[in-house]
């Protein structure tokens, strides 16, 4: 078993808990905003080249290559262009963006300034979920201090480049983590997703080219500019570059936010960092990514944290949540809770998601009551697959993941609850 120090690698969190988050002086003293100065000496294409070379993928969950996104916004026609930070961390079990915003808010601003310069954006928004009051306070203070010190506003540090950032509060809606739903919300409307394409890179906020990325993604940009794309790519594995912030919760002795390089195993995270289940309990299942993520048995925890290795098993870790559940809890009650969540949060725009979540819950209730039939297993599988294939946005496509993965890995929990044949 590896020690904690062998598992952890602090790159994005290197200043967290070290500097006072509300002190711009301490941030600058610890090397902060150096990357902005360096970026201003580079051509936008050079910066994007470094981000492409780094192989950085979006940390919000979808894993889209950040350099390609930046390139698309740079080349898109239309003005002004916008930078949006998606800080609508609504996926249950995730709290790493909150950690970054409240412990190193200037690092996020640094990344946004560099991206704005690289893609030619003049305005930025940080859309923070309404439940995160402390994160909003931290970012508002950081923005005010950055402005007062010339790191935001007109003609930043004499570069001729001007950029402003505003904090925008969400109002309680899970679907607003979806990029177009978030943009609709930012425009003062209910958060319902739009049809794609066009993508936000060409027609996003106010129908203008928009780079929208996650807090952790922006927080990596300064590191890439400072150290170069190749050095960043060398961290992690061949197929996954850099580190991931893991939000570890549930039945573990040491829950919390941990930064680990790609390549560690899920067991390193659950047992090495979390020290396993408390009170002598045994781990029954682990949900990855949050409510929309797969539920896997402990036997699968030897998988490496790596985009390809996880995809080969047909799973993903989404935005980095690891929720550990021990044997005191029944799988059906966990699934019921998850599906109630999706019934509540479905925006109702498309039928597969609006009706599918309710039907899944209805069928699960039959299993809970031990009144299900073989037919119900078939129907459950069919509804889940239809939702994955035909839902309008990521919410409905991912909502059945927990049910589908438990059908695969915990089939006995379903068949054991079929009604006794008379």
């Amino acid at each position: 078993m590896k020690t904690k120090n062998e598992i952890i690698k602090t790159l994005v969190t290197k200043r967290c808990g070290v500097i006072k988050p509300d002190s711009i002086e301490e941030f600058i003293g610890a090397g902060g905003y150096q990357a902005v100065v360096k970026a201003f000496s580079m051509q936008p294409e050079q910066i994007i080249g470094e981000v492409k070379a780094s192989n950085l993928k979006g940390r919000g969950g979808a894993g889209f290559p950040t350099g390609i996104k930046m390139d698309a916004v740079l080349k898109a026609e239309g003005s002004p262009k916008y930078i949006i930070c998606n800080a609508d961390e609504g996926e249950p079990g995730n709290f790493k963006d909150k950690y970054l915003m409240e412990n190193d808010p200037h690092q996020l601003l640094e990344g946004m300034i560099i991206c704005a310069y690289a893609v030619g954006a003049s305005h930025g928004y940080i859309y923070i979920r309404g439940e995160y009051g402390d994160s909003m306070t931290a970012l508002e203070k950081a923005i005010a201090d950055a402005k007062a010190n010339g790191w935001l506003g007109a003609n930043i540090k004499g570069s001729g480049f001007s950029f402003d950032v505003m904090v925008h509060s969400g109002a309680g809606s899970y679907v607003c983590g979806e990029e177009f739903a978030l943009i609709e919300s930012l425009e003062g409307k209910p958060g319902r997703p739009r049809n794609k394409p066009p993508y936000p890179t060409t027609a996003g906020f106010r129908d203008k080219p928009t780079m929208i990325s996650n807090v952790e993604t922006f927080s990596n940009i300064g590191i890439i500019v400072n150290g170069g794309g190749e050095a960043f790519k060398a961290i992690g594995t061949e197929t996954s570059a850099g580190t991931r912030l893991i939000s570890l919760s549930g039945n573990v002795k040491n829950p919390g936010v941990y930064e680990v390089p790609f390549g560690v195993t899920l067991a390193d995270i659950v047992y090495g960092l979390g020290e396993g289940a408390p009170d002598g309990q045994k781990i029954k299942m682990v949900q990855l990514g949050g409510a929309s993520g797969p539920i896997i048995p402990p036997e699968l925890l030897d998988i490496r944290l790596d985009y390809k290795d996880l995809a080969d098993e047909g799973i993903s870790i989404g935005s980095g949540a690891v929720i550990v559940i021990d044997e005191r809890f029944g799988m059906m009650e966990i699934l019921e809770r998850i599906m109630k969540f999706f019934c509540r949060e479905s925006c109702g725009k498309c039928t597969p998601c609006r009706e599918g979540n309710r039907q899944i819950l209805n069928i699960l209730n039959k299993f809970i009551a031990c009144k299900a039939s073989e037919e119900d297993i078939k129907n459950l599988t069919s509804i889940c697959n239809v939702m994955c294939l035909t839902s309008f946005c990521g919410l409905g496509q991912a909502a059945p993941t927990a049910v589908l993965t438990t059908l695969k890995y915990f089939g006995g929990e379903y068949t054991g609850r079929l009604a006794a044949k008379s």
């Binding site: 996926e91 249950p92 402390d134 109002a171 809606s173 930012l186 003062g188 409510a291």
Partner: protein
């Protein structure tokens, strides 16, 4: 008056509607946007009432029903559940004498479920009037509620 000040702060564009609603609701002791408020907002922002209701009824942090001075929100998601959030709800229901979704007769507390509050490492958790409380047990919940009662 308050609403006009809030509108001046955020602006009169349709884009500013959600920020205005959140700020205005936060400064009302009954924690909701009334029919009269909607009529006034519609006039001030030159929007239809239905446009305002489309936003008001979409977002869970906005309410069209009167609520208590303090909204007590209990996390309802898996990370809190496996750390005992069902008990948190039961303790709160007992302490406040109301069920989830109800408001105390004196209008001080409303008890609600909420989605993940982002402090799963301190589960189980709740939020009262924007303030987060984690690592809850029966004694701690009693103390916190007593503190708000005294205010």
């Amino acid at each position: 008056m308050q609403l006009l000040q809030i509108i001046e702060k955020h602006g009169r564009q349709p884009e500013d509607l959600i920020s205005i609603l959140l700020d205005y609701q936060a400064c009302k002791t009954d924690n909701y946007i009334s029919e009269d408020d909607v009529k006034m907002l519609a006039r001030q922002l030159n929007l239809t009432e239905s446009r305002i209701y489309s936003v008001l009824t979409f977002y869970t942090l906005l309410s069209t029903k009167p609520r208590g001075k303090y909204v007590v929100q209990v996390c309802n998601d898996v990370p809190c559940y496996v750390k005992g959030s069902v008990n948190v709800l039961k303790i709160l229901e007992k302490t406040l004498g109301i069920q989830e979704g109800e408001t105390t007769a004196d209008g001080v507390f409303t008890l609600e479920f909420t989605s993940c509050l982002g402090c799963c490492d301190k589960a189980p958790a709740m939020r009262i009037g924007g303030q987060l409380y984690g690592n809850l047990d029966e004694g701690k919940i009693g103390e916190i509620i007593a503190k708000y009662r005294g205010q």
